[in-house]
């Protein structure tokens, strides 16, 4: 009976796993199909004549490499700026006393509950009036501001756990707040910083909507827009679309699997604390 239960459990686990991966498997299978105008029927998981042609075509066509590079730049710079601004702000909340501190913190937390999409229209008019349409600056400012609130929250808790005595020894040696920030706080918070670095990078890598609205210049497009428009352009060439999508997914999955430790740590911390 017990063995039967265990067996049933594994069957169910594998069943859910199959439902999770089947869409990906079909996507991969389609990307390796030789393109004809007829989609093979019945749908098959292993192409009879697998080819890399779709990947080559996708990589070479329509500025795809440029879009890949654009996404890489946007995600990297967003990550660096988010790390910088969030850690500064979090340090201010963790180690300084100033008037209305908890009130300001409360307001920042409150804004996190409002979905960013709500202020899409006013953000657009704001960025337009700052003459930042069609610029990456317009992207960075919005992405980074959006990141600051929740990252400040995450980092503040982490910074506050660092023992005050470590800092005091720096002050005795003649250091100031900046020395502490650079040589004590940042090095000791590497796991938390890694977590927010990953989330900032992936967030910017995948962001679609804001980029779609403010980047009208073809040359500035990022991967998500490029893929969505690819689909509009070659509606029937699914192999090509999925080859492009797979190229875009690879960095995400790689980062996720190799830095899982930080993912899970960040998640568990957020879920269990308080």
């Amino acid at each position: 009976m017990k063995i039967f239960g265990k067996f049933l459990l594994y069957i169910m686990i594998i069943f859910v796993a199959l439902i999770t991966v089947i869409p990906f498997i079909y996507m991969i299978a389609t990307a390796f199909e030789t393109f004809t105008y007829v989609i093979p029927f019945p749908p098959r998981i292993i192409p009879t004549d697998p080819t890399l042609q779709n990947f080559i075509d996708a990589w070479k066509s329509n500025n795809f490499q440029l879009y890949f590079k654009n996404s890489l730049i946007v995600a990297t710079i967003t990550m660096i700026l988010s790390l910088f601004f969030s850690s500064l702000t979090a340090y201010a909340f963790a180690r300084f006393e100033f008037p209305a501190k908890e009130f300001i913190f409360g307001v920042m937390l409150f804004t996190m509950m409002v979905p960013g999409m709500i202020s899409l229209i006013p953000l657009f008019t704001l960025v337009k009036s700052l003459n930042l349409l069609n610029t990456y600056t317009g992207l960075y400012l919005v992405y980074v501001s959006g990141n600051i609130t929740f990252q400040t929250f995450l980092l503040r808790g982490f910074f506050e756990e660092i023992p005050q005595e470590l800092e005091d020894s720096v002050y005795i040696d003649g250091g100031n707040r900046w020395t502490v920030y650079r040589h004590i706080i940042l090095p000791l918070s590497k796991p938390a910083l890694a977590t927010i670095a990953i989330f900032s990078f992936l967030g910017a890598w995948d962001e679609f909507f804001w980029a779609l609205i403010i980047l009208k210049d073809q040359k500035l497009r990022t991967l998500p827009i490029a893929i969505a428009l690819f689909h509009g352009q070659f509606a029937t060439k699914w192999g090509l679309i999925f080859a492009a999508s797979l190229i875009a997914i690879i960095p995400v999955i790689t980062i996720f699997v190799s830095f899982q430790k930080y993912f899970v740590r960040g998640l568990m911390k957020g879920a269990l604390k308080g």
Binding site: I13, A17, T20, V21, P23, F24, Y26, M27, F41, P42, P43, F85, L88, T89, A92, F96, E97, F98, P99, A100, F103, G106, F110, T111, M112, M113, V114, M117, I118, S119, L120, I121, P122, F124, L126, S129, V144, S145, G146, T149, F150, T152, R177, Y181, F199, L202, D206, I227, A228, F242, A248, I249, V252, F256, Q260, L267, A271, L272, K273, G274
Partner: protein, 332 residues
């Protein structure tokens, strides 16, 4: 995004405390005495400024200001041409939304999406978490696997599901008709309102299971094993265990996931935008896709903002209910 949501539980709790303080007027009293009484405070502000202000200024300009501006725009017949004035029209945009058949349909679809995907994600997420929490081999492998849809971009999974739900010989049609014989003939999934909603909602559930699972799993792992040992001595079954030990203990987590998913479901947009484009005839629009259409296809910013703020109002209402629920003490 998923992770952002995740942190909300503790945030909401903190915020409750904060709001309470504000309401009691403590902060204001404190502020008054401090500002006027000492030079020390000014010195403090000068010291913290280089750390605090860069982030604070960004948040003020790009988050707080747009929120207020958006609220203002929703009361105007907003003119997007530079230099031209916009006319204040009071509640006209809001009235229009309540009388607009398509806006009502968008609200209906959004609510329906939530009613189906939220319980779907919670039940399946809980089942997977329980399965993985039983001592099995390859636990980390399966956890990673189930989480992959969560980290994959909405754009890509929306296109994949569009492909799976293709008319004619798409994978879903093939499985349902040719393998399982559930349906007599192929369905044009994305060309009909209700079947398109089914496709959009199944994507919503599929993509979200991993997120609920990870959070439930964390909660399950924090339950001391002795409780179950004690229960098994008393002869409790696994199902009894679940309803009498597990569920009451992780109730705060369940409430948290519930409300985060409800808020998330009101944010549904990219899947609709890419899978149906709101069609046929605007019958699969959701609030945000309809807002986008009004704002960026018809350039009616005032009306678009009104739709946004109706949505924001609903979300705020739900959040307030949750604050109440979270505050209640768990009883056993």
């Amino acid at each position: 995004m998923g992770v952002t949501l995740l942190l909300f539980k503790s945030i909401i709790q903190k915020l409750c405390r904060k709001l309470k303080t504000v309401i009691k007027g403590r902060i204001f009293i404190q502020k008054k005495s401090n500002l006027f009484n000492s030079r020390k405070r000014i010195k403090e502000i000068l010291q913290v400024a280089p750390f605090l202000f860069p982030g604070l200024i960004l948040v003020t300009i790009f988050i707080i200001y747009p929120l207020m501006k958006g609220f203002q725009i929703s009361f105007y017949d907003w003119n997007i041409m530079p230099g031209q004035s916009s006319e204040f029209i009071g509640f006209v945009n809001y009235k229009r939304a309540f009388n607009d058949e398509f806006a009502r349909m968008a609200l209906r679809n959004t609510v329906l999406y939530g009613l189906v995907t939220v319980p779907g994600q919670i039940i399946l997420g809980m089942m997977t978490a329980l399965m993985i929490n039983a001592r099995i081999r390859g636990r980390i492998f399966f956890r990673t696997l189930y989480y992959i849809p969560v980290v994959t971009s909405w754009v890509i999974v929306a296109l994949v599901f569009k492909y799976l739900f293709r008319s004619g010989g798409g994978v879903i049609n093939y499985i349902l008709k040719d393998i399982l014989h559930f349906i007599p003939e192929y369905v044009d999934w994305l060309q009909n309102t209700w079947s398109a909603m089914v496709a959009i909602m199944s994507l919503g559930i599929w993509k979200g299971i991993g997120w609920s699972m990870v959070i439930f799993l964390a909660a399950l792992q924090s339950i001391p094993a002795e409780l179950y040992e004690a229960a098994s001595i008393d002869g409790a079954t696994k199902i009894q265990n679940f309803f009498h030990i597990t569920l009451p203990l992780i109730r705060p987590t369940v409430v948290f996931v519930l409300v985060m998913l409800i808020i998330g479901s009101f944010n549904v947009f990219i899947s609709v935008f890419l899978m149906t484009g709101g069609g046929p005839m605007n019958t699969t629009q959701v609030m945000l896709s309809y807002m986008y259409k009004q704002a960026f296809s018809y350039f009616d910013f005032g009306y678009g903002s009104a739709i946004s703020f109706i949505l924001a109002g609903i979300i705020l209402f739900i959040t307030l209910i949750q604050m109440k629920l979270l505050r209640q003490k768990v009883q056993y």
